[in-house]
């Protein structure tokens, strides 16, 4: 009887079960898929780091990073990104508690920290370029801009994503789908902080030595 129920005339409860089960798989698979995307992004950064390492001494007789890098400035950039990673974690806890205002508050702080980071980075690029170290100055500076600006573009993409997610959540609330999206963005944002650790260690700290 149960079999005939299931095969011929599924009841509302059964339908719900099938949908929910699909649902659960969807969240886990999406996150694993997004994790694999992040791993492929790692390879992108690996090639940029390799390029930077290989071209690290190609100054073409021009200006060197030692003349330009200001570690205090980079320390502030690092702090902004690190704290934004932390505040995104707080936002995720808000989402878990289904507390929309807490989520938006922390997401807003994360957005502002990301924006401040991007503004500092753009000022830095402008400053370097005006000091005579533009992307076309030498092999070293080409590799520098390619690496650091790719990271900056990722931060920008993350911020656009944040805005879109806030619109989604304002419209639909913290649904299962939106929670999955938020979890993907969280992976992305923490990943950017991890890449920045490599950037400030390899590019800035070793660059001024």
């Amino acid at each position: 009887m149960a079999i005939s129920d299931m095969t011929i005339a599924p009841e509302a409860g059964y339908d719900g079960f099938a949908k929910e089960e699909h649902h659960h798989d969807y969240a886990g698979d999406t996150l694993l898929g997004f994790w694999i995307y992040i791993m492929s992004d790692c390879i992108l950064f690996a090639t940029l780091f390799a390029t930077y390492a290989v071209l690290g001494t190609g100054f073409a007789g021009g200006i060197t990073p030692k003349d330009l890098f200001d570690l205090n400035f980079v320390a502030v950039e690092t702090a902004l990104l690190l704290f934004s990673s932390f505040t995104f974690g707080m936002a995720m806890l808000g989402a878990q508690a289904k507390d929309e205002s807490r989520l938006f508050k922390w997401l807003g702080v994360t957005f502002l920290l990301g924006l401040a980071f991007l503004c500092m980075e753009m000022y830095e690029f402008y400053h370097f370029s005006s000091e005579g170290a533009g992307p076309t100055t030498s092999a070293y500076w080409s590799a520098f801009y390619a690496l650091v600006a790719t990271h900056g573009l990722h931060v920008f993409a993350g911020m656009c994503w944040m805005i879109i997610l806030v619109i989604h959540i304002k419209r639909d609330g913290i649904t299962e789908e939106n929670h999955t999206r938020l979890a993907c963005l969280s992976l992305f944002w923490h990943f950017l902080d991890i890449i920045w650790i490599c950037v400030f260690s390899m590019v800035y700290l070793m660059g001024v030595m």
Partner: protein
């Protein structure tokens, strides 16, 4: 009978849902975990910055410490911010992560190694 069947399914579903709250590489953290992650990250950032700014140690030793702090901080963030662990639900995340670390090392160290030899050979040709 079909009602009890559905009840059983729903009970199973609830079990699945509560058990999968931490699946798929999105295990949830706590405030405490994030604060610890932040504190460790600040320490592991301050050490290399302080060393380079003060120039207290020789450059070779400083580079080693910078690299060690960077690797340590990457692990700190993976554990405290991304909540990675060795549980079986995350085995695919960890396996793919280890694979990518291997690829990254091959790409970066391999490029540097090859290009250094190339530079060496070019100089020898002069």
């Amino acid at each position: 009978m079909s009602t009890s069947h559905n009840d059983a399914n729903n009970a199973l579903l609830n079990d699945i849902n509560s058990a999968t709250q931490t699946h798929g590489g999105a295990a949830h953290g706590s405030v405490k975990e994030y604060v610890w992650g932040l504190i460790w990250s600040i320490i592991l950032t301050a050490i290399p910055f302080g060393l380079v700014m003060s120039g207290a140690l020789s450059s070779g030793l400083t580079i080693v410490i910078i690299l060690l702090c960077a690797v340590a901080q990457v692990f700190v963030q993976l554990v405290f911010f991304l909540h990675m662990n060795t549980s079986s639900e995350q085995s695919w995340n960890v396996v793919s992560g280890v694979f990518i670390v291997l690829i990254t090392l091959i790409v970066v160290l391999g490029s540097v190694w090859i290009m250094q030899h190339l530079n060496h050979n070019m100089l020898m040709g002069h």
